[in-house]
Symmetry: D2
Subunit: 417 residues, 4 copies
């Protein structure tokens, strides 16, 4: 590791450096890190198709600050030109990493190991990289075992940031600022198209949904989308399921009926709903015994759509299916997201951030919320793949339903009850 | 005015004192005003139909504070039991009132003059009452003329607060808190019903609209509603018209096209649009000469729907029709609102507050905005008649269109171009 | 239970029926429930001090609807005039209640058992009431054991709604609508006064805090308040502690330093912070070993202030102290809240709602958030005891600090490190 | 103009093309315009100080689309390489421009006229450029006179976009996303520093303020800042002045007193306040006659600080000083902004947008609002010079006061009453 003693380092990057604004961010990072750069070689793509290449010498004021800059440059897509292997250190404590462990981004990552670049599997952000034989894996801190070979430092690591290509990207249109002053219908049309594309090419779609979906009258539309085969996984909390059941059993959501009228005593409907389900043993039994005959959870169970309900500190009940052990719930969420290509987050910051943390950057997320701050926050968490739509989630589902189900296309000819 | 020397006064009120929460507010007002009350007589309505009656003695700590409490009680619907005529003082200065002038609420008001209760005409809030012969009128401060007989103090004034009847009121359902976690579709259905009712009974509907109506893709839906006869008056600013024309001429709104894509150079479209209209002399000429062939303003002109565009400090241009003299604009707004029974405020706090200030309390306002703070603020300005809907205004108009125009009913068989 | 067959029932209520708006709500409830009322007797309090009394006959259209109305009237403070004992049914299944179990509000509740009214202990909302000997307890659904004597129906139940007295209530000033257009300094002064009062009278204060407290620069102010003895319990999630430690160890919060500059690589600081704490075994060990020397968690540990960190689906790490089993976390939260008289909720809707669900209505909650929708939502959840302040939480803590700590008063002369 | 017939055009640009993200935006613009580019020459700055240079051939699908792309490139800082003079066309109608007039941005602009590049004076966005002799001026559409020499097309125009230098720019720290989850105190410190710098170097500062400044308790702090010489111009509407006077005369703002308590009858205080001022003839007379003795307007008048009050459709009264003719008000605003180097916009979207439209890009704006959507909107209107702070404006002013006035520095030793 003699390079660590030098106050200068040569890094390289190639790709759509200008389109992707990468070059700008790279320069910024160097300057903000009290360091300087000298461009050694730069080749600009002459047309939109051609990639660019840069090689530059970074000089830092001292060793720690140079290291921090290099660490950041690596996550941006630069690689140390030295050509060394990644440094690997054995974990010396259960559930902990060595002090200078490399903490992952959600972008596709390669590690130079025994002279070869290997792609890291199970990519996700905020994890450590563990080498096993000739393979490398993302692992959560708490899952690191004593003796695991953990990647440290920044040498021998290469990150390939997800690049939003300009003209091909159907979603460029929404990469403008997040705003409620936008025509949502155009956005819905593109999202519907994406969902069809994903399904037609055999991909999986996950929906992460909060109880507002039910409160705003989206239950029927959402149920139909499930029934039509557009949802492969439902990730939610206890509240979505509780108010969905309340709606199915009593026609209210948090005590408000479908005409918007607050029903007297209605705020206790959700407790009665929970009790009904607990008495029969769970949601599946409720469907089997004919107690639960409509709604989001009903459609999931009827069509074999996987669902995971994660508990939270505010939960009433909970329903038997709600997982109150969150280590287990996180693992179940992550497993359910395996192979998913598109995620819709409907009015739930909590579960949306949770899911965003688990996904690699090449899985697209669409976040729908009436509060622009929520959409901004979800889009900000290092998830450049996120598209935000600021709108009423009930009306959004109505629009999506019109485009996907109102027409006669049912993707999977699933058997109906 | 000997009663003014006393530190105690008897007031009376009758009506749905409990349903309307009036009694509670009356008691609160007394206590907060460092005064006390003694109930002399109270008769509660035995059923929902029967009115209640209360007579109470108010005792204040000193004359000014008692006066302030009485003043407030009068606006709440109490009357001084003394039976005196209202005090009338001649205005001694143009555009000004005597110091202790009675400042109106927007509730129906009666003045005791020459021993008879007369109803005040042109009721609106924050104005003075001027007596002319046996009639009384609300007048804006600036319109008071020297010598006008201005009502002062609180005696001989009786206010009849608008009472929201419980079971008959179709809108009770939305009188719950303002929230984005509501099923908007139910609200739209009721608003559509109200609009139909108003039109069928020969009433007038005004729409107050901001440019977000255009940005969110509502232009076509709104245009169709105008075309179908559901809009009698359009009150807006320069920006609504500018972006509507931009949309009609260039297919963009603030440079964003209907698919949501920002068009290069598009942010200058609105200046070109203004120039086009200025060159032909105005909106009406643009329609006549076939320059303007679609959109909200086009439909207004084609169907003879009155519109008033009020200028603001942020206006570009402006369009020839935009009134940059706001004294005139306020007068034109107020005149256009005469006889209106329902007002829809679509995404414009500025014009919505302006209109709210001009309306008596018995005209219903429906405020639609994606920002709950705007809806709350409009509903808070002493306008208990306001119903708030927190949602995306483009999708709201789509829903309203589905219910009113998507079906075949066109209220007025206006001639189509 | 022969009364159940009748379509009419006599109910009574007494207290500040008008001040508290109870009478209005009672009438509304009857009408909305398609029922009617006849006032049999009404005695109004003649002055502000005197209570009122009402006795009324309720008539319903059918048995189920009458029952629903009665159920609601009971939670509002009416009692069935019949004078029967509460109906008690044995639970026939673990973690479940009989179908018509009485679901509690957070108001003080009495049950008529063996001819005597007994007060229910451990009052909280959305729970069942279990009778044990001559005592009655609130119990969560999941904690009901087979054979428990569960209160069902509505007879023999009396609820005493928390009444906000008008003139004595220090908080009346904020009972206005929730708005960002308010002078926060006045509110802070009152909250500071309340905190002093609670401490001087030996009461306990809990703070529920989200990570925004750290992001907005509140860590030092909050730490000082803990140090000065104004916090007895801290209830939070993993994120508050993680960013507090990140701030203490690296001077950043989510990678942003105290001057507001985003530090390169800083977004990984929080993972390093978690790893540091995990390596030493936990927060307490980190303080003992001198690894953690400042911040909110440090002050809690140093001053023996109890804290409970509840896990969530979005948590990284987690820290060893974070409870990922939420059944346990809820129980620990509830236990920690025992005897608390004032709760400050700082920028956390999730934990704020969780805590609100656990508290009886006579514990005051102050909710501070920059988003009015969050404040409204917390205040709406049946927690009439909640006061909302819409403001920047960092500046709020600065103001509170100025009033409580900037001056020299340290409530408890706790020993310093 | 033979170049117009070609479907290809060579453009050049130089400067900090990468740092400023200009190159990326240029490429994007070409692609989105259905055109293509070929880089002819590119020289990258080797270090942070060195500028870059690019020359590229743009090929469009047809003439109009190529023109639109070129038009946009010019506003981004590219110039047509041909070296022709700008095209000048005589205006043929009062208040109108020729159809293909060049619509300005707020960036510094040069026009090639008679073979020389001349800088455009009175730079502002959305205006036309008029040539007079050897000078060029921005002129509003409505101020164009028949016969004026108006610049059309895109040749011979060069724009120099304001470049935010990375390391020197004190405000880089806030160029992160707009968020309420930020430490505001750091921002205030920098703003205070900037204000001191501007004043010490003889610059002028304008404040644009909404009535929320008064409602949130900022009147005293703001008054002190005026008194200490930190405000050279106050731009506001009628409401700011009305509530400031209401506060000075009655101690309330919209009827709410300084402890946050709603005063009975207080909502009419603002009408009384207006009447008082109208009776004495205006604000200046009110100060002279000792009627108005405190507050923001008082301090402005006492210290000779210029103020302009622009009317709006929602105004009550108005005050005699409020300009209800908005053409005049816009002109007065623009004149008052002449030579201003820093503008603070405090809680007013309407006036903030109005002012933003009038400023060249090199005047810095700081926008403070508790609603992130307002801050985003102000920052989005082509005003890259805008810095947003999401916080409580009353507390913000308190903080600013602490840093600028709480200490003993008074910039101008203005005479105190």
């Amino acid at each position: 590791m003699e390079s660590r003693e030098r106050l200068t380092e040569v890094v390289e990057a190639e790709g759509h450096l200008i389109d992707s604004q990468l070059l700008n961010v790279i320069f910024d990072t160097v300057i903000k890190g009290s360091s300087s750069f000298e461009v050694l070689r730069f080749k600009i793509g002459r047309t939109n198709e051609e990639p660019s290449f840069i090689s530059m010498r970074i000089t830092g004021p001292d060793e720690p600050r140079l290291q921090r800059v290099l660490e950041e440059l690596v996550t941006l897509g630069c690689r140390i030109a030295s050509g060394h292997n990644a440094q690997v250190v054995q974990a010396d404590k259960e559930g902990c990493a060595p002090s200078d462990f490399y903490s992952t981004t959600n972008d596709r990552t390669f590690v130079r190991h025994r002279g070869r670049w290997i792609e890291v599997e199970q990519q996700r952000m905020d994890s450590v990289i563990v080498i096993e034989g000739n393979r490398a894996f993302c692992r959560k801190l708490r899952d690191v075992r004593m003796g695991d070979a953990v990647v440290c430092g920044v040498e021998g690591i290469r990150v390939a940031p997800e690049f939003r290509e300009r003209d091909r990207l159907g979603f460029a249109f929404m990469s403008n600022e997040i705003s409620s002053e936008r025509r949502v219908e155009a956005g819905v049309a593109r999202i519907a198209e994406m969902m069809r594309d994903v399904k037609q090419s055999g991909g999986r779609i996950a929906v992460v949904a909060g109880p507002v979906v039910i409160h705003t009258g989206g239950a029927t539309y959402f149920g139909d989308l499930i029934s039509a085969g557009y949802v492969d996984v439902l990730l939610a909390g206890n509240a979505l399921a509780v108010h969905d059941i309340e709606n199915a059993l009593f026609g209210t959501s948090l005590g408000v009926d479908e005409t918007g009228k607050a029903i007297e005593g209605g705020h206790r409907h959700h407790m009665r709903a929970i009790n009904v389900i607990r008495r029969v043993g769970g949601l599946r039994q409720a469907v089997e015994e004919g107690v639960l005959k409509a709604g989001v959870m009903y459609e999931c169970i009827r069509h074999g759509v996987e669902f995971v309900l994660a508990g939270s500190i505010r939960d009433d009940g909970p329903l038997p299916e709600t997982m109150m052990d969150l280590v287990e719930a996180q693992d179940r969420y992550a497993a359910a997201l395996d192979g998913v290509r598109l995620v819709l987050v409907l009015s739930t910051m909590l579960h949306g951030i949770g899911v965003g943390n688990m996904l690699p950057s090449w899985v697209r997320m669409v976040c729908v919320d009436i509060n622009p701050a929520v959409v901004t926050k979800l889009a900000d968490r290092g998830s450049s793949q996120t598209i935000g739509v600021v709108t009423d989630v009930g009306l959004f589902l109505h629009q999506l339903h019109r485009r996907l189900v109102g027409q006669t296309d049912v993707i999977n000819q699933r058997q109906r009850g």
